[in-house]
Amino acid sequence: MVMRVCRALLASADADDAWSETFLSALRAYPRLRPDSDERAWLVTIAHRKALDQLRAAGRRAVPAGELPDLATEDPPRPDDELRAALAALSPAQREAVVLHHLGGLAHDEIAATLGISPAAARRRAADGIAALRTRLTGGTTP
């Protein structure tokens, strides 16, 4: 699950780094985790944050602001390159909701608690994000 979140947002090498950073952070933070915390939701949230860190770092390395880094130069093409580009084109708020809900498996109210928004807003962001993704990837056809 953590790798899916990382790979949805990042090229292979960066996804690997984000995966490692996620688990190292988790190991560092464990003693402070409250016993009643949901570890899965917590881990997915860290993975998402680490992936964004990597995205920012990749952005700083090479490309003009607002553009997708040209990942093909470092990594062989992957079947999900198109998906990654479409995700990157979402607004950060929609992308966050989509990744946490559809890839991380967090419920809307868990996302709401993580992001400090209402469950309805979390649901709307995820739904809008999926609609935008679908438009971009399939030319707008409905299932």
């Binding site: 790798m3 899916r4 690997d16 190292l24 985790l33 992957r78 990837l137």
Partner: protein, 197 residues
Amino acid sequence: MSELFDTISAPDGATLAGLRADLVRRAEAEGLLDVAYRTVDSPLGALLVATTPVGLVRLAFEGEDHATVLAAIADDVSPRVLQADARLDDLARQLDEYFAGRRRGFDVPVDLRLARGFRRAVLEHLRDIPYGRIESYASVARAAGSPNAVRAAGSACAMNPVPLVVPCHRVVRSDGSIGHYRGGAEAKRRLLALEAA
């Protein structure tokens, strides 16, 4: 909706193994690895072995659900648990040799923190029972300092966190019947037969 994400592939096995090994190295360097574990194939099925920096803390048979055992380790020892095969290569080799009949004892440190008090005293004594020998629960209770605590000695053996390495399978009932074993009565029979050969 999730069919949108079907194109996301998992890294191949070698890449993942490399990532895991690297994570173990970095966690160790930062002092973040409290429990390392791996599985070892054996004639009794897959064995889960877990070690702390002190020594082997848990050995679980296939019949004990390994995920449940790892969750209990996270609760009882530390949540900083990682699969780290190389850390347990030496024990894996010794287990192979033992099951092949080429080894009579295990030369690895053990961490008995999961057993306290009398249970621990029982386990300390079990380590002195030589290969191929058997003892009764009554004799174990006596050796552990409480001759009347035969039942408690029995449950200490049954709850041994590191069976095989601490040889609780060498303890049987005074009437000669086999008694409880974490790996099942059949496993205990097979171990005693192996050691009698």
